[in-house]
């Protein structure tokens, strides 16, 4: 009984000991904040990654790809049974995108992905990242009239509303150009005529080589003009392509500081894509595509490289369709499982079904395809946790020192208690209990502080920005509007128990020392 009473009294009268626990409090609060933010980042990032990646991917690296995807799909469905929520076939290949801007050609490397727009939405959250509301429901690779990204107030008109006037304008320009060329041609011909006449008049029928050379460009220009007129871009679109938003825009700041995407390509623009065909050796193929929408997953890696086109078009252009059966080959098959199923178990089943030695397909879960990145984030979290726990361990030594001081200060009390018949165990319990109490108070306050910090983290970031004038959290870098946080209850329990444990461990040595004190010497202590 006296143990509890004295514990409480010491806690009440020795506030200085609480100072030693402040470091525990700070450590606990920091751990909670760091873990919450790291968890928030990881979870948001995984959601975004997973948004575009299906659960399991069967992939081949062969040039021709999987030639009989239907057979594969049947085998997958037979093997996984009702665990499957959706299956889709995809062709993925590296490609190059070229577009004209301000009279210059711009080239960018892209990941060209041929998707089946009817089934692709069943394996990933792809559609919800598109800009146009209708495409969010069902993508059809057709250019919409307007209404892209209604929430982006600054977005300039896109779709047909942009393409048609642009085409008309270009037509006028072309027409004028043509007129000018025709005029030029006429003048040239007249001049030629005149020269010819003059030459014939002077030294007979000998042709002038300079004049023959100069006739060339004029003919070429005329041919070009002929080609353009075949396709009416005011009314027609080419095959649709969905670009990652960073392929067509730059994120920057307005003068007033608001973050804004500046689009240099818009839905309605045409781009040229160059990709290898399926032949051996592969040859480059050029295709014109019309941008029908942008795709914004907020994963910069995806948003700056992915371009989606219709699967059939890609198979056709690359020569992946079997002329006899009419079946198109694919490079990967993506599978979505019903929620709650074990990805790794399904993967192992599929690996068993398609042994890598037989089918030359690689079966991976989406986590494995993003393995290095996830592993890096995991490593970062682990190391941060270790470092912060070291901080708490340092705090533990502070507690150790403080407790030794308190034991020395309380030497006479210890002697008195022993003279009154308290056992060494009982004395040790007082100081251990004191450690538990301090640890509990310290980590309790730390948990509260940490939760408050996490709760108000965006306001705190703003205050720090205001004070330092430096941006803590730059949305142009992270693609987050606010700092994402997630608090796992088990993390709170784990952190506070760890802190209490450290406080208790730190009080073990002083407790033993107190328990071993000789009553007579303790009573004599001045």
């Amino acid at each position: 009984m006296y143990k509890f009473l004295l514990c409480m009294r010491y806690l009440k009268t020795r506030w200085i000991a609480l100072a030693s626990i402040v470091s525990v409090t700070l450590g606990v609060a920091t751990l909670i904040v760091v873990n919450s933010v790291m968890d928030g980042f990881t979870t948001t990032m995984q959601d975004r990654m997973h948004g575009i990646l299906s659960d399991i991917v069967l992939e081949t690296r062969s040039q021709t790809g999987i030639t009989q995807p239907q057979g594969y799909e049947e085998r997958i469905r037979a093997r996984l049974g009702d665990r499957v929520a959706g299956v889709t076939t995809v062709v993925t290949l590296p490609a190059m995108m070229t577009f004209q801007r301000n009279g210059n050609s711009h080239t960018q490397q892209i990941n060209l992905i041929g998707i089946d727009q009817n089934t692709f939405a069943s394996v990933s959250d792809f559609s919800k990242y598109l800009l146009h509301p209708e495409n969010k429901k069902q993508l059809d690779f057709l250019l919409k009239n307007n209404g892209y990204a209604v929430e982006r107030e600054r977005m300039q008109p896109s779709g047909w509303e942009y393409r048609a006037p642009m085409a008309r304008y270009q037509k006028v320009v072309q027409q004028r150009l043509r007129n000018a060329q025709e005029l030029e041609q006429e003048r040239f011909e007249q001049l030629q005529q005149k020269i010819q006449e003059e030459t014939q008049a002077s030294d007979g029928a000998q042709a002038d080589p300079v004049a023959a050379l100069m006739a060339g460009p004029g003919i070429q220009i005329a041919n070009n003009a002929q080609q353009i007129s075949q396709f009416d871009s005011e009314k027609e679109q080419r095959t649709g392509i969905v670009l990652g938003i960073n392929l067509g825009s730059i994120r920057g700041r307005e003068p007033d500081g608001t973050v804004q995407d500046f689009f240099f390509l818009r839905p309605g623009d045409d781009v040229q894509v160059t990709f290898p065909n399926a032949g051996t050796p592969p040859r480059g193929i050029d295709e014109q595509f019309t941008i029908v929408d942008f795709y914004e997953s907020k994963m910069s890696e995806y948003d700056s490289t992915f371009a989606f086109v219709p699967l059939e078009k890609l198979q056709h252009s690359r020569g992946m369709i079997d002329p006899q059966t009419g079946a198109g080959a694919v490079t990967s098959i993506q599978i979505k499982l019903k929620p709650g199923n074990d990805l790794n178990a399904a993967r192992d089943a599929l690996r068993d079904e398609f042994p890598p030695t037989h089918d030359f397909v690689e079966v991976r879960t989406w986590r494995e395809t993003q393995g290095p990145l996830l592993a890096a984030v995991q490593l970062e979290t682990t190391i941060l946790n270790i470092l912060l726990f070291m901080i708490i361990a340092v705090a533990g030594f502070g507690i150790l020192a403080t407790f030794f001081m308190i034991v020395v200060e309380k030497t006479r009390d210890i002697g008195i208690l022993k003279a009154l018949g308290a056992t060494g165990m009982g004395i040790a319990t007082i100081f251990l209990g004191y450690g538990v109490l301090l640890g509990t108070v310290g980590s309790g306050v730390g948990v509260v502080c940490g939760l408050l910090f996490v709760w108000k983290i965006n306001d705190i970031a703003r205050v720090i920005e205001w004070i330092t004038g430096r941006e803590v959290f730059d949305p142009t870098v992270y693609y987050f509007d606010t700092i994402p946080t997630i608090i796992h209850p088990y993390m709170l329990v784990w952190v506070s128990l760890g802190a209490i444990l450290i406080a208790v461990l730190a009080s073990v040595l002083p407790s033993i020392r107190a328990a071993r004190m000789h009553p007579v010497e303790a009573l004599r202590y001045e």
Binding site: M1, Y2, F4, L5, L6, R9, Y10, T13, R412, D413, G415, I416, L417, K418, A419, L420, G421, A422, T423, G424, G426, H518, P519, V520, L523
Partner: protein, 295 residues
């Protein structure tokens, strides 16, 4: 009796105890003349053949400081008869405090035996010694040794809290607190129940320590210079209380002192010199009753 002024008159209670006399609830009822009379006759009759409360024989104790061994007790024989006040007197460094600590099992002798009520206590285990101190002994010290964080009442309750676990204490709480309050009443401090030791005077602190020593209803009280730090007046109050406890309840008291006049008031005196009992020419055992008779 060298100094008649210091003669203790136990049948005349201290002024603060007079009003308490009417309260019959206290087990430590203040002594009345008729009671003393009966006790007196009993004592003088049994003067010769009193049972020993605590005995020590051939006690040897030395302290080690670095490599030099300092002998403190060099074979001390000691007897404290039941129901008597025994004084241990000697110069500083004569080993009187060490002897008291050995008797109180706060320390263990290097050689010799200590028996309490006929039973060896020097070879008990640590746990048994702790229990013995808690149950059988009351101890008071020159520097009072109260716990500064606790109130007066809590200080008195401390031994009871030590002997009971949390739940058994809470079960018996009312009874124990009742007893503590009676003891505090007896030492005349019931108006300071909630005060911390630093708010009390030296005499009050020593009275608190006496109440604390009595909470477990011990049969032996060890007092280490109980008046050594007090002025004459306060010291007299303490001595009066001790004497009354002895006479009223037959509490055996062993008191260490260096004050000859206090020793003279005790029933028997043991003189220590250089770690040995000083042999005096045999004198008849002085009893309180003799002192009262004016001997």
């Amino acid at each position: 009796m060298n100094n008649p002024d210091t003669t203790l008159h136990p049948h005349i209670p201290a002024p603060h105890m007079l009003d308490m006399d009417s309260k019959t609830a206290s087990p430590y009822r203040v002594i009345r003349p008729e009671d003393t009379e009966s006790l007196r006759t009993k004592r003088s009759a049994n003067a010769g053949q009193l049972d020993p409360m605590i005995t020590a024989s051939g006690l040897v104790k030395s302290y080690r400081k670095h490599k030099t061994v300092v002998p403190v007790l060099k074979g001390v024989d000691f007897v404290a008869p039941k129901g008597r006040v025994t004084a241990i007197i000697g110069q500083s460094g004569s080993g009187k405090s060490t002897l008291l600590h050995l008797l109180g099992t706060l320390d263990q002798p290097d050689g010799g035996e200590i028996a309490f009520d006929g039973q060896r206590i020097d070879c008990l285990t640590a746990r048994d010694r702790d229990a013995f101190r808690n149950q059988q002994l009351g101890m008071i010290f020159q520097f009072y040794h109260l716990l500064p964080e606790l109130t007066l009442l809590e200080n008195v309750l401390a031994p009871a809290m030590i002997s009971h676990g949390l739940f058994s204490y809470l079960r018996n709480r009312r009874m124990v607190v009742q007893r503590a309050k009676e003891l505090i009443d007896m030492v005349g401090l019931s108006h300071r129940m909630k005060h911390r030791p630093r708010e009390l005077s030296g005499g009050e602190m020593q009275r608190t320590a006496i109440a604390r020593a009595l909470i477990a209803n011990p049969s032996l009280l060890l007092a280490d210079e109980p008046t050594g730090n007090l002025d004459h007046e306060s010291g007299q109050i303490i001595l009066r209380i001790l004497r009354q406890l002895n006479q009223d309840h037959g509490l055996t008291i062993v008191m260490v002192t260096h004050d000859e006049s206090i020793a003279q008031q005790c029933d028997s005196v043991v003189r220590l010199k250089d770690g040995k009992v000083e042999r005096l020419p045999p004198t008849p055992l002085r009893t309180t009753s003799d002192a009262i008779r004016g001997g």
